[in-house]
């Protein structure tokens, strides 16, 4: 694990569904401990990109190129192999945090089962859980609650705690803060910053909210119609060279310039 090779390295990724190219990304890298933003309007290909990374594309999708994660090409990994990478090494924090927890399981049970699933021995689980709870500043008593008894922010912390407990190397934050109110948003953003510092976790922050991502990410990629149209540090916002970026900065989507539908 040399510092030179990025943790996640996407090259010439193309995803075709039904003969239409929906994603055509020449290059996207996430280094260890780096926070990278992927910003675009709805339908730009953000979700598809995540699905490709996680290996959950629809079965009729055709792919080319490579998605290398720690030296292994995820596009060519077996279903079984992907299952061990997904969740354990690449964790996902979803927008609807409460809906992402199984309603019939207490939060603590949910985490414990996930740890057991990924072969964390029983005697180690308690210590990992303690550490994770401290890292996300979650009261241990909340673990006895069912999802509907948690607030959105608490539920989000539970998902993040699981990522910490599993020692995920990369966290895919899918609009992870969009459903939260502003103060909780700031808390979760701060949490991401701390995790990165304390655990060395890498983040790929996927969002339509440029302002939020700009405040966190080291590098930002603007995606539009399946292509990355602009990349750079947060300073790209000051001098947008692309109209999509300019529109995102102005926080309004561009009017379709042609009659061609976005998807």
């Amino acid at each position: 694990m040399s510092a030179a090779t990025p943790l996640l390295s996407i090259r010439d990724l193309r995803v075709e569904i039904g003969g239409t190219t929906l994603l055509d990304v020449d290059r996207l890298d996430v280094s260890r401990g780096e926070m990278v933003g992927l910003v675009g309007e709805s339908g730009a290909g953000k979700s598809l990109m995540q699905a490709a990374i996680l290996g959950v594309l629809p079965s009729h999708a055709r792919t080319s190129g490579s998605i290398e994660f720690d030296g292994r090409d995820l596009l060519r990994a077996s279903v079984r192999e992907m299952r061990h990478i997904r969740g354990r090494r690449i964790a996902v924090v979803l927008q609807a945090a409460r809906a992402a927890l199984t309603p019939t399981l207490r939060a603590g049970t949910w985490i414990d089962r996930a740890l057991a699933l990924h072969d964390v021995p029983k005697q180690e689980r308690a210590a990992r859980l303690d550490h994770a709870l401290q890292a996300v500043r979650l009261q241990p008593t909340l673990l006895d609650r069912y999802p509907h008894q948690l607030s959105g922010g608490e539920a989000q912390r539970v998902s993040i705690a699981l990522a910490v407990a599993l020692r995920a190397e990369l966290v895919l934050a899918d609009e992870a803060t969009s459903a939260l109110d502003v103060t909780v948003q700031a808390e979760v953003a701060e949490l991401f910053r701390q995790l990165r510092a304390s655990e060395g976790t890498s983040f790929l922050m996927v969002s339509h909210d440029l302002a939020l991502v700009a405040g966190l990410a080291d590098r930002i990629n603007i995606i539009s119609r399946g292509c990355i149209v602009e990349r750079g540090g947060p300073e790209v916002l000051q001098h947008p060279s692309d109209e999509v970026t300019a529109a995102l900065v102005a926080a309004k989507p561009p009017l379709p310039s042609s009659s061609e539908p976005l998807t």
Binding site: V92, L117, H148, L162
Partner: protein, 299 residues
Amino acid sequence: MTTAETTPQVGATGPGSRLRSALRYVRDHPGLVVAGAIIAFIVGGALLAPFIAPYPDDAGTATNMLATLLPPNDEHLFGTDHAGRDVWSRVLFGAWMSVGTSLLVILASLAVGVPIGLFSGAVGGWLDDILMRVVDIFLAFPSLLLALAIGAALGPSLQNAAIAIVIAWWPWYARLMRGEAASIRRRGFVESGHLLGIAPWRVTVRHILPNASGPVIVQASLDLGGVILTLAGLSFLGLGAIDPTPEWGLMVQQGRALIQTHPWVVLVPGAAIMLAALAFTLLGEGLRERLDPKGATRR
């Protein structure tokens, strides 16, 4: 499920508050309490019949032609039937015949219907289509009629009647389970389960099934009353239990002609059927409230 909220908290409770919380439970769930009492009575009767029935032989082949159609008296609490058999003894033994058989029928129907429905709903696609069309074919016939036809084909016996009802009944659970599973399959926690690297079968069994089973459990409990009635109905029509089996429906059928002159022969097993059906319906309604996951915290 969650026993924590039904048992009083240990520590801060004295005998007074324990009684109070029990009373509050009765006030909040009158249906469940009544259902529980009746069911306890029926189950107790079914299990203890050989010990508490005053004339255990009357549930079998015994006859007593010198004491036919006696009205209720000191020796025969609910009188005797046309063969001089003690009605109370037969009703007690009949609890196992009627309720026990119905319970087995429901369990067998669940055992067939739930896995099929769960699989169908969780997998989706063309397999789902095929399975559900098969279910539709079964559902196209009214279940009593279907049970009647199958019962007639198999020949009259309590066991055949039970098999006939299972064949007519399982598609309802398959359909119900399939609908629940199919809607839950699209929920966030199933997606996050897959994203956590959980194998699909495990997501189905550990995450979809528990969240989909509430309505099925409720329906099964409500149906138990219906199955008791159907089983009694088949026996009444001569397609179920045969004499001298002390099955409640059969007892009603045998006393049918005597209802105006010797009503106890019909009324006692009839009341037993009604009470049992009522109790399981109340239980189902009570469970419906309890099993709603969002209701788990309600005090």
